[in-house]
């Protein structure tokens, strides 16, 4: 990781569904290269036998009982929808 391969900005932007201009790509690649260079020092830490921490205070079995409660009225559910018809959200035709 100390010699992390250069960040493939096109591939990552694709995964993140972000359209970037050539200028943005160049700038982000350079800035993130600096950040990744900094982050590379994590490789120096001896983490053998160390458990990962997902939560600072781990608790288990946090659930609710299976009782249905009222949800949002359709009008509220679609209140912020950019495009709708027949109480559904319109998206460009999806070809599966």
């Amino acid at each position: 990781m100390a010699n992390a391969p250069a960040l493939d900005i096109d591939h990552v932007a694709k995964l993140a569904r972000l359209a970037l201009t050539p200028e943005e790509k160049a700038k982000y690649a350079q800035q993130l290269g600096d950040v990744l260079h900094h982050i590379a020092q994590l490789a120096k830490v001896d983490v053998s036998g160390v458990e990962p921490t997902a939560h600072a205070t781990p608790i288990f079995n946090v659930w609710q009982e299976d009782v249905a409660r009222p949800g949002l009225p359709v009008a509220d559910a679609l209140r912020n929808a950019p495009a709708q018809r027949d109480n559904m959200v319109i998206v460009p035709k999806v070809i599966e």
């Binding site: 993140a16 569904r17 600072a56 959200v89």
Partner: protein, 487 residues
């Protein structure tokens, strides 16, 4: 009541309201007037709804007249960072992506403030999706520091600290993922409290990094912070990370918890890069505690140098996934003329997100991507374990830790253009989030040029009572909280 109602602490205002020397409507009108007067120079708010606030105030007065006051917060105008959902009000995260979004529901803390009778006043500016340390990353323009309007208020909750410092709210709420409450509190000369992870519900808080985010109060005094914390803390079954714990009366505990305490000074927090004026102010605060009979002990948090890297891996990874929902489909900005649904994602997200958000999404996507997960995310989670262990080891010896909040005072708007330089503003605050601890920033003086300085006190998990008491002891012996910017 003094003429400057909007600079009074909650404790004084609550007493005046109870004694019927003041009405909630008068107080709210004073805050509205102050907001109107200062906003052109400060721009702390993204939106506010005067009619709605006055209606809430009138309802508060009616309750009080009927002898049904809900307590110290009943009728107190409190403004919320624009990442906390308030039903039927805009919720933008200071992003073009959500510029027209209206929340159909209340956050957990919003419900709790309503139950306490608070007057919900305005959505406060912040860095877009809470990503930043200066509030310059807002799609709606930066917020200025009331102490020097050419400078930043800190961030990401800069609107929350600036509005309070300017008198445009009596208390505010912010969110803190890597210092976003404490750093702006320090830079604006107010009290800012980041509670233990899990003490305050995240339900209805726009997620940045789920395992680090926590809502907390900004207040004029430690006692006010205790009052607001008491209102918003407590288990919420809609947040799986919310902790089931008894919520003490934090305000009452201030009177009983009197020390002396054993206080630790982490040597790694007083290293290179710390502004000498800040170092000096914090040293004086430490000297105060020593003079009060507290035992001061140097401690070591050996993994401190890895906090920033650990944080940027974990926070951006979680953010890249949390922000995937902003896609222009169900709500939010939708680009015009997309040729298919994939194009719709690309364009809507390119247009809707600002530069810093894109940068972090890319970094976070990268560290999770195939082949890099173990080297970055998994490793960062393991280092996080060591960082947390450092703190827990220190707490075997001491009750709390004292550090600077920010390495630098408020800097000039536009001064820090390099993201890495800006990330370094958070070096003293980030470890607390990684370890899930509570911490508070209290004003501890001013630079020669008149900029506020804050000191950070870090406490043990769920021991906010003790943390607040330690902060209060310092605050009571100093008069920083009575000083206000000239606006």
């Amino acid at each position: 009541m003094s003429s400057e109602l909007f600079y009074q602490p909650i404790t004084a205002l609550a007493a005046a309201l109870a004694e019927k020397k003041l009405t909630a409507v008068e107080l709210t009108q004073a805050v509205i007037a102050r907001t109107k007067a200062t906003e052109p120079r400060i721009h702390a708010f993204n939106s506010h709804d005067e009619a709605d606030a006055l209606a809430q105030a009138a309802a508060s007065d009616a309750r009080r007249a009927a002898g049904q006051s809900l307590g110290a917060l009943d009728g107190i105008p409190i403004a919320l960072k624009d990442v906390i959902a308030v039903r039927n009000q805009p919720l933008t995260a200071s992003s073009k992506m959500l510029a027209n979004f209206v929340s159909p529901y209340d956050a957990g803390v919003t419900e709790k403030l309503r139950k306490a009778g608070a007057v919900l006043w305005g959505r406060l500016n912040c860095d877009e999706f809470a990503m930043g340390s200066s509030t310059e990353n807002s799609a709606f323009g930066p917020t200025s520091n009331p102490w020097d309007t050419t400078r930043v208020p800190g961030g990401s909750s800069g609107g929350s600290s600036a509005a309070l410092a300017a008198g445009s709210a009596i208390a505010t709420l912010g969110s803190d993922t890597g210092g976003s409450i404490r750093q702006p509190a320090a830079l604006c000369g107010v009290v800012g409290l980041k509670p233990t992870y899990g003490l305050v519900s995240r339900y209805g808080l726009i997620a940045f990094a789920s395992s680090l985010d926590q809502i907390g109060p900004f207040a004029r005094t430690v006692e006010d912070a205790a009052i607001v914390l008491g209102a918003i803390a407590g288990h919420d079954e809609r947040d799986s990370t919310s902790f089931k714990t008894e919520i003490p009366d934090y305000r009452a505990a201030l009177a009983t918890n009197r020390g002396p305490w054993k206080l630790g000074i982490p040597k790694e927090y007083f290293a290179e890069g710390l502004d000498p004026e800040i170092a000096q102010a914090v040293e004086q605060a430490i000297a105060f505690y020593k003079a009060q009979g507290c035992e001061i002990r140097e401690v070591s948090l050996p993994h401190t140098q890895y906090c920033l890297d650990t944080y940027y891996v974990i926070a951006t990874a979680e953010a890249s996934s949390n922000l995937a929902r902003y896609d222009g489909i169900r709500y939010g900005h939708r680009a015009a003329g997309a040729k298919d649904v994939v194009d719709l994602y690309y364009q809507s997200r390119a247009e809707g997100f600002g530069a810093e958000v894109k940068r972090r999404i890319i970094l976070g996507t990268y560290v999770l991507s195939s082949g890099y997960y173990d080297a970055y995310y998994l490793r960062a989670q393991k280092v996080r374990t060591l960082i947390r262990q450092d703190f827990l080891n220190a707490f075997k010896e001491v009750d709390a830790l004292i550090t600077p909040t920010s390495p630098v005072p408020a800097f000039k708007l536009g001064e820090k253009a390099d993201p890495l330089a800006l990330y370094l503003c958070d070096i003293y605050t980030i470890g607390v989030n990684l370890a899930g601890l509570p911490a508070i920033s209290v004003p501890c003086g001013f630079t020669k040029s008149g900029l506020p300085i804050g000191t950070q006190i870090i406490g043990q998990p769920f021991r906010e009572s003790s943390l607040l008491a330690i902060a209060r002891a310092y605050e009571q012996a100093h008069s920083w909280s009575t000083k206000h910017p000239i606006l």
